[in-house]
């Protein structure tokens, strides 16, 4: 058994490249000539004020929003140019966790996860069921949540179930839209360590929109800040010294100081 070509390519191509992205809704400019490159195996945190287009950027990259202009590639492929099975093959290597989980309300948690596995693999039903239940445990949900409908779950549990669905195919990239928002601090740090662990063992690339300073400090390799319709990207140390007023306010505001004190102390 020789190593498959996908493993060798890991460090040669970036996971996500965005070049010259322009998004505009009516008279409101969201992104203007925005560039972004995310490396394989990297955990990128994306921050920015309300309405600066964090979620729009995420939706554009995964192909849910057609941009006005710009070249976007996931794992070297231009999703917008692909149709049918080629598109499906790329999407199978990507998982998305939406802000409120976006679980299919007519299906139980385990069915939600199994649906993804069924539509992308030809595995036997017993294995699909087992894999789905495994994902439920991996995201820290109790097994008795498996047969429940999403409406019977709390917000935090719904988020975990959404992550389980995003991880169903063991994707190479996961997009997380505010994964720790609405979780209690213990749950949130659990979530962080889960992401970190998966990233290490699976060489996962993580694109994470977040406002959680603890997450940013704890697990991100680099941080992308959406300001002035563009992106400023760098490590935490680099951004701490960025003179842009919003970035200064973000990292040196009272909440940020408390977090850094807590971590330093």
């Amino acid at each position: 058994m020789i190593s498959s070509p996908e493993n060798d390519a890991i460090h040669t191509t970036p996971a996500i490249t965005v070049h010259g992205l322009v998004n505009r809704f009516g008279a409101q400019w969201i992104h203007d000539d925005l560039d972004l490159e995310v490396m394989r195996g990297e955990i990128l945190g994306v921050i920015g004020g309300s309405g600066t287009g964090k979620s729009v950027l995420l939706r554009t990259i995964v192909g849910l929003n057609r941009p006005l202009q710009g070249d976007i590639r996931i794992l070297g492929e231009r999703l917008s140019a692909l149709r049918g099975s080629a598109r499906k093959a790329v999407l199978a290597r990507v998982g998305v966790l939406f802000q409120s989980g976006a679980l299919f309300s007519g299906l139980t948690v385990v069915e939600n996860i199994a649906l993804v596995l069924k539509s992308h693999t030809s595995l036997r039903p017993e294995r699909i069921d087992l894999l789905a239940r495994q994902k439920i445990d991996m995201v820290g949900l109790p097994q008795d949540a498996a047969e429940k409908l999403p409406t019977k779950l709390s917000g935090g549990m719904r988020k975990r179930a959404g992550l389980a669905r995003a991880l169903a195919l063991d994707p190479e990239i996961v997009f997380l839209d505010e994964p720790t928002a609405g979780l209690d601090p213990i749950g949130a740090s659990d979530f962080d360590s889960l992401i970190l662990e998966l990233q290490q063992s699976l060489k996962l690339t993580v694109f994470m929109v977040t406002h959680d300073l603890d997450s940013l400090v704890a697990i991100t390799d680099r941080i992308a800040v959406l300001v002035d319709n563009k992106i400023r990207i760098g490590s935490l140390e680099e951004l701490l010294n960025d003179p842009h007023p919003w970035i200064q306010e973000y990292f040196h505001g009272p909440r940020a100081r408390a977090t850094r004190h807590a971590i330093a102390g």
Binding site: M1, N7, G106, L131, R133, Q134, T151, L169, E197, S201
Partner: protein, 363 residues
């Protein structure tokens, strides 16, 4: 993959979800005479995801029989071991006794049906009380919302109700012409059109159309607000959802449906007149003369008097089903269907009650 004499399985390459079918085939091809797998050497693995780790665990006799695994795969393997333990610990749900479940289902349906009538009566009472409160102080009625619903349920329904009523007039005229020609009594086609459209069909079809158009919309609107916690938000702010959502809709529909009925009557008669002229060569003057002899004010009023009652039934059922939505989008769909079925049923039931009462009163 290679299985040697002592039960040592050496695995390598990628063990990921996409590789599982191939790995399964390779496992089946291993020599049977080598005996059971006792140890697994994972030192040559280049990729391992949770699906691959699961397969590895199934292949190995025990988790600690796997050795040589790279450190970066230890985390995912441990996660999968933990998950497997948790799944194994959870008892499988027992399949239910089918006869018992069916009996339980019948019982539940029955009690739910009874409960629903009880709840519906409660809701009607609540609506009456709230409407009464608003009627005492008419300035508390939300005029803007009422006008909005009046436009949506009334004005915007004109094209479709016009088309429908015209067709009804046409159908009745054709039917009358065909049957009455046998007796050379074609002129009574006009009587047939007049009585059936004004007394029954105009109002009934307008009501059915409104039930499908607006009753369903009421359920979907209120139901979506319910799933979005907007109704709870209203209660928390101190607004009465019945006063804010139900009363404007009921008032708007009670105004709109009689107006739509008058319009439907006129267009229905016009449809009949056109066919009378085209097929039976009854001129418009003759048509009108015959019509005024055949129907009087009572016929017109009987038809019109049903309209507000139909309107109330449709609006209240539509809103009631909206409030009963719980949780998900599927629930909105279910209750919207129920709302349309129930309100059309109610319209026909009320119409039948009217017909019986009127025949008993000899009108």
């Amino acid at each position: 993959m290679e299985l040697s004499e002592g039960g040592l399985l050496v695995v390598g390459g990628g063990w990921r979800l996409v590789h599982i079918p191939r790995l399964n085939r390779e496992l089946e091809r291993q020599p049977q005479n080598a005996g059971a797998i006792r140890q697994v050497d994972g030192s040559r693995l280049t990729a391992l995801d949770s699906a691959g780790a699961q397969l590895l665990l199934q292949v190995a006799p025990a988790p600690d029989a796997i050795f040589g695994l790279a450190d970066r795969f230890r985390g995912v393997l441990q996660r999968v071991i933990d998950a497997k333990d948790a799944i194994d610990r959870t008892p499988k749900p027992r399949p239910a006794n089918s006869l018992l479940t069916r009996l339980e289902h019948i019982g539940r349906q029955t009690s739910d049906g009874g409960l629903k009538i009880y709840e519906m009566l409660g809701f009607v009472g609540l609506c009456v009380v709230t409407t009464g409160k608003i009627l005492i102080r008419p300035w508390t009625l939300d005029l803007r919302a009422t006008a909005h619903h009046l436009e949506n349920t009334g004005l915007k329904a004109l094209p479709i109700i016009g088309l429908l009523s015209f067709m009804i007039g046409v159908v009745v005229a054709f039917m009358g012409a065909l049957q009455l020609r046998k007796f050379s009594a074609e002129i009574f086609t006009v009587d047939l059109i007049g009585v059936s459209v004004l007394r029954e069909l105009g109002v009934m079809f307008a009501a059915i159309m409104v039930a499908g158009r607006s009753g369903s919309a009421f359920t979907a609107q209120i139901g979506t607000m319910q799933t979005n916690e907007e109704i709870d938000a209203m209660r928390a702010i101190g607004l009465d959802p019945i006063g804010v959502l139900v009363v404007p809709r009921v008032v708007a529909l009670v105004i709109a449906l009689p107006l739509l009925t008058i319009y439907a009557n006129l267009v229905g008669l016009a449809g009949g007149a056109v066919i009378s002229l085209a097929v039976l060569e009854i001129s418009l003057t003759t048509f009108l003369e015959q019509l005024s002899g055949a129907v009087g004010l009572p016929t017109l009023m009987i038809g019109l008097s049903k309209a507000p009652i139909f309107a109330m039934a449709i609006a209240i059922i539509g809103c009631f089903e909206g409030f009963k939505v719980r949780g998900s989008a599927a629930s909105v769909g279910r209750h919207t269907t129920t709302s349309v079925v129930e309100s059309i049923f109610a319209v026909i039931l009320i119409d039948a009650a009217f017909a019986m009462a009127l025949s008993w009163m000899d009108i």
